[in-house]
Every structure is written in C-alpha cells, then in structure tokens.
Symmetry: C2
Subunit: 175 residues, 2 copies
C-alpha cells in the first residue's frame, strides 16, 4: 500500500484543533496542491480566501453558522470560491466539480503533513452561499463553494469505524 | 515533502495507455479510496460502474463521444454515479461535490500505484448525461457524474509545464 493510499484511507474529519498555528510554507503547500488538480478544459476556475489571522478567524467564524466553533478554533480555514468568469462558458457548472477537486487535494495534502481538516459545506445551500458572499463582499461572478477548516488535531478519530469498500455500490461492466 | 504531496503535484492527465491490464486488487484499492472521502452529512451518495472487460470497454467507448479512443484504450474506466435516492434531501446537489471527491481520491490512489488517468467530464453536459443514462439503463434517480479512465501510462507528461501556485488566486483574510 502506498503512502498516498494510506493517507486517503486513514483520513477522518477532524473538528478540534490544538493552538498550534501552521507556518507559511505549510499553508502554501496545501494551496499549491489545491491548484494542482485537473479542471475541466483546464479552466482553473477557482480562487481561495485563506483566513489565518486569529482575529479575522474569530470574526469570520460568526458568519459560518453552525460551523462557528470549528472555524474559530482552526489554525487556518479556506473558502474555496468557484469563479464564474473563468468557467467553461458552455458548461459553467463544471466549476463545482473543479472546486471540489481542489478541496480534496488540499485535505489530503494537509493530512499527509499532520494537519486535520473538515469539509464544511456551503454551496448548494443558498443561505450559506449568501452569508459568505456578504461577509467577504464577493463579486457576483464568484460562488462561495466550500469552507475547509485545518488545524493540528486535538482529537483522535483513528478508531472511528469508517466504511471503505461497499460491495453494493460497485457494478462491473453493466449497471 | 510527503509522498502524498508529491503524488498530487506530479499528477498529469494521461490519455494513452499500454496493453497492461490492472489486477483485481489494484482496482479494488482504487475504488476503496473513492469510497473513503468525506461526503456531506456522510450521505455516501455515489455508485460506480467499473468497466474492465475488454469487449465491454470497446462497446461502451462508442457511447463516450470524443473520449472514445481513451476509454477503449484504458485498462479500466469508471463511471461515477451520483445517487439521488441517497442524497441529502435538503440539498441533493451536494452529491455533485461528493462524487467529485470520490473521483479525485481514485485518481490520486491510481497515480501512486503507477496508473495514469484522465478525468472525462459528463455532468453538467446534458447530451453526455443522456448518452450514459441510455447506455447503462440507469435508474432515473442516478446521475452519471464523470468518467475516469485508468491505465498504465504509454506517454510521459512529466515535463509538461503545469501551473501550481498562482499568487493572484489567493486572498489572505479578505477578498
């Protein structure tokens, strides 16, 4: 089993973090991985708002609804934005897929660097989309996609049962 | 740099494959990684059609439009399906994000195991969605999300320039 496969399989959502901050290089590596996934027609139609300033995290957290405590306690959190202006004009909804790929790349990079994370859904829930648009004053063309909170784990979920392979979700050669 | 980060950064889309087939364990590991990502409210609202039989691959490839040659030449290809019946009822479009996470996990697992891959978009392009629904006779509740073709690389794209970190896509603390 490769380290990458192990990282993928052992990842759990982590919502409690120590006070340790992440250094600039770590944040930059996570973001580079976010920007390194495939995107339909290579549109690279995303942007990222990285909040790592402790005071800004506390302010932003209040706009994050039920995720407030998680964001406030994170080392840094990232709002993935799907950028309608850069999107493939014939099928702009691909930007939802592209933003998701960026998110999972960041989560796995972080996991391998010792950071825990949790994916906090925004799109397609319109009240959450609106709250983020307003908080950051996003341009109309920019859709807040997802928030991912990152931090050094202060909980151990390695024993949490986790389904991996489910036979009944796999069809061979025919549906 | 961790192996996972290296795998993420060195991945390129690979469209030409040798004749080598993938063994059952490899396919199973790739699928297990697909099923190991987070999904909103843990809905796990995906299914996978894995086509690895050489004759079935040739037949299916004809339903894959411009991707015909890639699918026909792959060791195996996977149709990710987004399952409306299992989706979070208050926001079923999360299944698009969840399917994308599954796809990127499979791509990275495969990359680390020496397989190349390419993401072939289906949703949101309705003519592609229809072609897959018809070919496999999918239930109405099931949305064909994406096809990912896998195979042992018969091209070397490691020298292909690839943007990683783009400064102008990152905003710190404020938009």
């Amino acid at each position: 089993m490769t380290e990458t496969v192990k990282t993928i399989l052992k990842r759990r959502s982590i919502r409690k973090y120590t006070d340790q901050k992440a250094d600039e290089e770590t944040i930059r590596t996570v973001l580079a991985c976010g920007m390194s996934g495939p995107s339909a027609v290579n549109a690279r139609d995303w942007s990222f708002v990285v909040v790592d300033d402790p005071e800004e995290l506390q302010k932003w957290a209040k706009a994050c609804g039920r995720a407030e405590k998680i964001v406030a306690g994170s080392a840094f959190s990232v709002l993935i934005c799907a950028d309608g202006e850069r999107a493939f004009s014939r099928a702009p909804e691909y930007r939802i897929i592209n933003g998701s790929i960026a998110g999972q790349n960041m989560i796995l990079a972080a996991e391998s660097l010792g950071l825990g994370s949790v994916w906090l859904g925004i799109w397609p829930q319109q009240e959450k989309v609106q709250a983020q648009k307003e908080y950051f004053g996003l341009p109309d063309s920019v859709t807040p996609h997802s928030v991912i909170a990152f931090g050094y784990p202060d909980e151990d979920r390695s024993d949490t049962p986790h389904k991996d392979y489910e036979e009944d979700r796999v069809h061979f050669n025919k549906w």
